[in-house]
């Protein structure tokens, strides 16, 4: 099974999702990230979904779970790079991801984390 690499960049963790996520890979990422937050004492998590062409309710839920779990572990999550057609579809699907911080690019996400005191 594929696993998604998690990189440490400064004080933050960076995850770039480049595969068409199947549900098991998505669940594994949730587990791996929480472990990595604890192991590295990271205070910020950036999830780059600019290559993701589909975010359905399962992946939306995974992103929400990651944000909630990292918050409990004293880290902030910013989801970056969502494609416009994915945003349109998500909202129509009924998911507006109210608890997830977003930014348009990795740079903007890094800045948001730095402002929040995580970077």
């Amino acid at each position: 099974m594929d696993r998604i690499p998690i990189l440490k960049v400064g004080e933050n963790l960076l995850v770039t999702i480049q595969v068409d996520l199947d549900d098991r890979v998505a669940l594994a990422l949730q587990d791996d990230l929480t472990e990595k937050i604890v192991a590295t004492r990271a205070h910020g998590v950036l999830i780059d979904i600019s290559s993701l062409e589909v975010v359905d309710s399962f992946i939306g839920r995974m992103l929400g779970n990651i944000a909630a779990m990292s918050r409990v572990l004293d880290a902030r999550t910013v989801v970056v790079g969502m494609q416009p057609q994915v945003a349109i579809t998500l909202v129509e699907l009924g998911l507006s991801l109210p608890d997830i911080a977003t930014a348009l690019s990795v740079d903007a996400g890094m800045e948001a984390l730095a402002r929040a005191g995580g970077g």
């Binding site: 996520l21 199947d22 309710s57 839920r61 494609q83 057609q85 579809t89 699907l93 009924g94």
Partner: protein
């Protein structure tokens, strides 16, 4: 449920199995390829692929697996992609309730069925307890 079936000539049918998480990814990819070939806009492609993803997962998680037909349909100046998800699982006792946002018998968000309905132009569901469920969705676009 009222079935809206536009008068159309069916051709090019493809059937894909739905047994595992990999199969959901394969259905998404097949729907994407087909929608691109038919000239769907990027937003329309994404809506249909997302609906397919929700319904494919439901077929596996709630219907204990089944299959999906991809059917190209034509009607006048329009061309559409119809997806038919079939399982012989436990069936849905209360279809209206299952379509309501937030309702789930599993561990999902309960957005799958109602959400998928909003992402397509036509939606029909036929479910019998103890026999199985068939869900048919279609999204249309203008011919190029």
């Amino acid at each position: 449920m009222v079935e809206l079936r536009a008068g159309s000539v069916d051709d090019e049918v493809q059937t894909l199995p739905l047994r595992s998480a990999d199969d959901v990814v394969r259905v998404r990819q097949a729907v994407r390829t087909c929608a691109v070939e038919l000239g769907f806009s990027l937003v329309d492609q994404t809506k249909l692929v997302t609906a397919a993803s929700e319904l494919a997962r439901n077929t596996i998680d709630y219907g204990r697996g089944g299959d999906c037909d991809l059917v190209v349909v034509r009607s006048g100046e329009r061309v559409g992609l119809r997806l038919v998800f079939r399982d012989d699982g436990p069936g849905i006792a209360d279809v209206e309730q299952a379509l309501r946002d937030g309702y789930t018998t599993g561990n999902g968000l309960g957005m799958g069925l109602g959400g998928a309905r909003r992402l397509v132009d036509e939606f029909a569901i036929d479910s019998t307890v103890g026999v199985g469920t068939t869900i048919e969705v279609t999204r249309w676009t203008w011919k190029r």
